[in-house]
Structures are given as structure tokens and as C-alpha cells.
């Protein structure tokens, strides 16, 4: 979780990542931001995020991202 927070704040520190629940739906992060985020996450956690994971509900909040990372790590 800490690593995730660090990455998120690096990408955009103007977003309140702990509270925000609609990062994608409210367009706080645009699609280019999402791509950057994906590659950062892959590097940091050694996971592979495929096209099927590219859905708003996986990126809307730090919590959702955390869950996705845990799920992918298990694979």
C-alpha cells in the first residue's frame, strides 16, 4: 500500500488518493495518466496488467488498485 501511495503521489500529488473514489469517472486522471500509472505499477509490483484489466472500476480508487494488484500477484 505504501509503495502504491508513493507511485500515485508521484504521478499527481494534487489528488487526495486516500479519499478519492472516482479517479477515472470524474476524470481526475486522464487516459495518458492511466497508461503511465500502469507501467509504474507493473514495474513496482512485478505484475502484468492486461487489456482486460483496463476498466474504470479497477482504477477509481487506491483501494481498488490495491485489490487488483493483489489479485494479479496471485496469478
Amino acid at each position: 500500500m505504501d509503495t502504491l501511495m508513493k507511485i500515485l503521489n508521484e504521478i499527481d500529488d494534487s489528488i487526495n488518493w486516500e479519499k478519492e473514489k472516482a479517479v477515472i469517472d470524474d476524470r481526475l486522471l486522464d487516459s495518458f495518466g492511466v497508461i503511465t500509472l500502469v507501467s509504474e505499477l507493473e514495474d513496482a509490483f512485478g505484475i502484468e496488467i492486461e487489456a482486460s484489466e483496463m476498466a474504470a472500476e479497477n482504477f477509481n480508487s487506491a483501494e481498488a488498485m490495491c485489490q487488483m494488484i493483489l489479485r494479479l500477484k496471485e496469478k
Binding site: R27, S31, F32, I35, T36, S39, E42, A51, S52, M54
Partner: protein, 529 residues
């Protein structure tokens, strides 16, 4: 039988509603399906075979994918733990091939019907330059109505099954209905399987609220199309078809007029479509969201033809941007080029196919391809300039939400939109370029009021109707954008006020609509794509 015609509004839709309501709940989906196929038949006759073929094929691919997934799961469960990953990987590869085959087949049919002649013509031209004779004969290919729209829906469904976003559909009827719901056939909106398939299938009874809200939505669409778009059509055609005779402000005004025409037409048609869906209790995805309030080109494309944008983002942009090639570039870039250039590179790689396909999707003409590339360059430029913009904002301590910043941004976006639509409408790329260039010659604003514009088939009364209509649409847009009426919309108003608005809407469509003697019936623009 386009959606704005008397046959659709006064006969087809009411009869479909009646038959739907009278049918028992269990077979209502059949009524909708029959309505969809008769609608298609009435317009494209035997070409309905294409829709049927696409449906059968998509159904089959879906089932195949579903079956592979099932087998993969059972086999992996039985296998020892260390082999499971390998089994999954193997199946994944097979599924990938199935999906690729499915997409290629559907896109192939679309490409064949739509682009064969374009390809042949350009190849022949090339051959002629090199001195040989023409190679490919032109063919008389008839395009089934709406093929560009249902093909995208079918591809989206296959990808969704592959990604396990939706389970594969066993029931052929349900899938057929998803691809052939009659309001959507001609011009979209392009919906995803998860959005509309279930509710179409359910066969819920009609509700008074849905019927009345749907009707109002339809009337609103007619208002936009009949009062504004069908009038501007006259002016737009007069200038674009004889562009050699005009330059300067006339061309610029025609570009603006076309943009407004296209918006009123397309979004008006969407109002009719979404209203029709609403009457059956089906919520179709929105296609427009006040596009002229956009602050940049990227935002414009999130507010204009939204379902096409979402489709490209979901099925082209993201898959490309997380593909292994892009990931490799990412790794390489971050090591050697730094963040900024890497991001720019990724954006370019992911954006290029989207905008090439967007241009091609609109049709086999160089000006559409140019139109796609135009937005590619502008959007990429937006990404490239992002750091500069942030710096400027910081340096001046400017507030990016303040009006002094927002309004110039919106106006700048308007210029981008108008120029883009100029190329989009022009009769070929060469005409588009010439029109663009001639815009800067003899730019005499007095032509706007010296009577020049009365020579294009519209009189003062028409301009008055267009102006007033646009004003009404702008006000409604403003109310929606700022959510002045809240979620409930018109329902918050008291009955007499609401009714007065309804009557006003009905009567203004009937009285000020451009139909009947002295007008031409204008076909839907997007029905040709």
C-alpha cells in the same frame, strides 16, 4: 425509413410499441427482434443477410471462446499446481487466435464492402502513374444500413467475452436483439453488451413515465433537426458544392454552419433514438454531452460521438497501450529518454491507430483520413504541450477554472472543431485544402450583412429561425451543463409550466420545422457511415 420520417414516427414506432405491449412478457423480445429485422429489411432489403451472418458468426465465436474458457478451468483444476500456469497460458494463446480470427472476419467484411472501391481506385491510379494499366475493376457493392455500427458492437462483444467482462451468450436470440435493436441500427449509439443486452431481453411492460419522457426526447430531437439542421443544410450545400466560387468569410461561415448542422442533426437523431429506446424502458448510452463547452480537443471527443470514442478507447487505445510492444518501449524509454519523451512516445503509439481507424471508419475518402490525422496531431500536441501549460499556469498564478482562462480555451477549441469539420464535409481532400486556403483570401466581414448570405437559398426568416433555435438549444445545454434543474430535470417544474413547455415544443416543431412545400427532406448524415 429514417427516424425523422412520418412513417417511423407515426406508424412504425407506435405499432412496434403496441405489438410489444400486447405480446406476453416472454415473447416480447421476439417482437423487438422482428421489429429490428423488418426495419432493416425495409431499408436494405436482402442485405439483411449481412446482419444475420454477423450475428450467427459472432454468436459462434462467443460460444467457442466460452467453451475454451470452461475447458481451461477444468483442465487447470485437475492438473498439478506447477502445470496450471502453463495450461492457462496455452489456452490464452488459443483464445487470442480465436478472437483475432473473429475480429478479422468481421472487420474484413466491413473493409471489403466499404473500402474495396477506394483501394482499387487508388491502386489503379498508382499503376497508371507507373505506366501500367488499371488492375482492379470497380465493383458495385451495396452497403447494408448501419454495418459500421453493428460491426463495432459485435467486435466489442467478442472482446468482452475474451476478457471475461461478460459471459458468452448461449441464446442466439438475445445476441441478435443486442445487434439489431431497431432504434440503434442506423446511427448508433454503439452500445456495449453489458449496457443493453439484458434490459432488451427482459421485456418489461411499457410505463407511462417512460413513454412521456421518451416522446419529449424525440420532440427535442426533431426540434434540432427540423428547425436548425435542415435549414443549414441548404446553405452548407450551396457553399461546399460550389466552393470554387467563394472565399474568405463565406467559407469560414459555411464551416461553422456545417458544424452546427452536423451537431443538430446527429445529436437530434440521437435524441430520437434514445427517446425511442426510452419508450421501451431501454436506456441507451448517450452520444453527446454539450460538446461545445469543451476546453480542448481531447475533451471535445469525450463529449462528441461519445460511444465511438469509448469504443476506440476500450478496444483499441488501451489494448495497444498495454501491449507488450508498448511496454518494451516504456522500459527502454525510461532508461534512455526520460519520462516526458517516453510518455509522448506511448501516447503517439496508442493514439495513432485510434485516429487512423476513426478516419477510416467514417468512410473511404482521403478527407476522412485527413480528419483522423488532424485530430491525432492536435491531441498529441496537447500531450506534448501539457508541461508548458502547467508552467504558464503556475507562473501567472492563473486559476484554470476562472472564466478568463476557460472562455479563450473554449473558443480555441471551437476553432479546432470548425476547421476539422471543414475538411470532414469538403468534397474530397483537395477541395478541403483549397477551401481552407481560400478562407484567408479576401476576408471581408461585411459580407455577413450585405446580403451575400441571402443568396444561398435561405431568407431572413430562415436565419431568424436558425438563430432562435440555436439560442434555445444553447440555453438548454447551459441548464444541463450546470445541472440547474437537478437530476429530475423538467419533472421539478409545476405541471402548467411543464405542459406549456411541451406544447411550445410541439408547436414550434410543427410550425417552424423545415418540411413540406419549399423544403427538401434531408437524409441523415451519419446513416451513410
Amino acid at each position: 425509413m429514417a427516424y425523422h420520417t412520418a412513417v417511423y414516427l407515426a406508424l412504425f414506432l407506435p405499432l412496434a410499441l403496441l405489438a410489444y405491449q400486447l405480446a406476453p412478457k416472454k415473447v416480447r423480445w421476439c417482437v423487438l427482434l422482428a421489429a429490428g429485422y423488418s426495419f432493416f429489411w425495409l431499408i436494405s432489403k436482402g442485405l439483411v443477410a449481412y446482419l444475420l451472418g454477423t450475428t450467427l458468426f459472432t454468436h459462434y465465436v462467443g460460444i467457442w471462446l466460452g467453451w475454451m474458457k470452461l475447458r481451461c478451468r477444468t483442465e487447470a483444476e485437475q492438473a498439478p499446481k506447477e502445470d496450471q500456469a502453463e495450461i492457462r497460458k496455452q489456452y490464452k494463446r488459443k483464445e487470442k487466435w480465436i478472437l483475432a480470427g473473429g475480429i478479422l472476419a468481421l472487420a474484413g467484411v466491413l473493409a471489403w464492402l466499404k473500402y474495396y472501391n477506394f483501394f482499387a481506385k487508388n491502386l489503379n491510379a498508382l499503376m497508371e502513374i507507373s505506366g501500367s494499366t488499371a488492375l482492379l475493376p470497380a465493383k458495385d457493392l451495396l452497403l447494408p444500413i448501419g454495418i459500421s455500427f453493428y460491426t463495432l458492437q459485435a467486435i466489442g462483444y467478442m472482446a468482452d467475452v475474451y476478457w471475461e467482462k461478460v459471459p458468452s451468450e448461449k441464446n442466439l436470440g438475445k445476441l441478435a436483439l443486442f445487434l439489431g435493436f431497431f432504434p440503434q441500427i442506423m446511427e448508433g449509439p454503439i452500445s456495449m453488451y453489458a449496457q443493453t443486452a439484458d434490459v432488451l431481453w427482459e421485456g418489461n411492460s411499457l410505463k407511462g413515465e417512460n413513454l412521456s419522457k421518451g416522446s419529449v426526447r424525440i420532440l427535442w430531437g426533431l426540434f434540432k433537426k427540423m428547425i436548425i439542421a435542415d435549414r443549414l443544410y441548404v446553405l452548407v450545400r450551396a457553399v461546399f458544392d460550389y466552393y470554387e466560387n467563394y472565399n474568405g468569410i463565406v467559407i469560414a461561415a459555411a464551416a461553422v454552419a456545417y458544424t452546427v448542422q452536423l451537431y443538430m442533426e446527429f445529436s437530434g437523431c440521437m435524441d430520437i433514438v434514445i427517446g425511442s429506446g426510452r419508450m421501451f424502458g431501454v436506456t441507451l448510452p448517450e452520444n453527446f454531452n454539450q460538446p461545445f463547452a469543451s476546453r480542448n480537443a481531447a475533451e471535445f471527443w469525450r463529449r462528441w460521438h461519445m460511444t465511438l470514442g469509448v469504443w476506440f478507447k476500450t478496444y483499441v487505445f488501451y489494448p495497444v497501450s498495454v501491449s507488450s510492444a508498448v511496454k518494451k518501449w516504456n522500459k527502454f524509454g525510461r532508461k534512455h529518454l526520460g519520462k516526458y519523451l517516453t510518455k509522448l512516445g506511448v501516447s503517439a503509439i496508442a493514439l495513432f491507430p485510434v485516429w487512423l481507424l476513426n478516419g477510416l471508419w467514417h468512410g473511404p475518402q482521403w478527407n476522412y483520413i485527413f480528419y483522423g490525422m488532424y485530430y491525432f496531431v492536435i491531441l498529441l500536441g496537447g500531450v506534448a504541450l501539457e508541461p508548458v501549460r502547467s508552467k504558464v499556469l503556475k507562473l501567472w498564478h492563473a486559476d484554470e477554472h476562472a472564466l478568463y482562462w476557460r472562455i479563450p480555451q473554449i473558443l480555441k477549441t471551437w476553432v479546432i472543431i470548425f476547421a476539422g469539420e471543414l475538411f470532414f464535409r469538403a468534397n474530397g481532400l483537395r477541395a478541403g485544402l483549397r477551401m481552407f486556403e481560400s478562407m484567408f483570401r479576401e476576408f471581408t466581414p461585411q459580407k455577413l450583412w450585405d446580403g451575400t448570405f441571402l443568396g444561398f437559398g435561405l431568407d431572413g426568416a430562415d436565419y431568424l429561425a436558425i438563430g432562435t433555435g440555436c439560442l434555445v438549444v444553447a440555453c438548454v445545454g447551459m441548464i444541463k451543463e450546470r445541472k440547474l434543474l437537478g437530476e429530475e430535470g423538467l419533472q421539478t417544474l409545476r405541471t402548467p409550466v411543464r405542459w406549456a413547455l411541451y406544447y411550445g415544443l410541439i408547436l414550434s416543431v410543427i410550425i417552424f420545422g423545415a418540411y413540406g412545400v419549399g423544403y427538401q427532406q434531408v437524409d441523415l448524415i451519419y446513416a451513410n457511415f
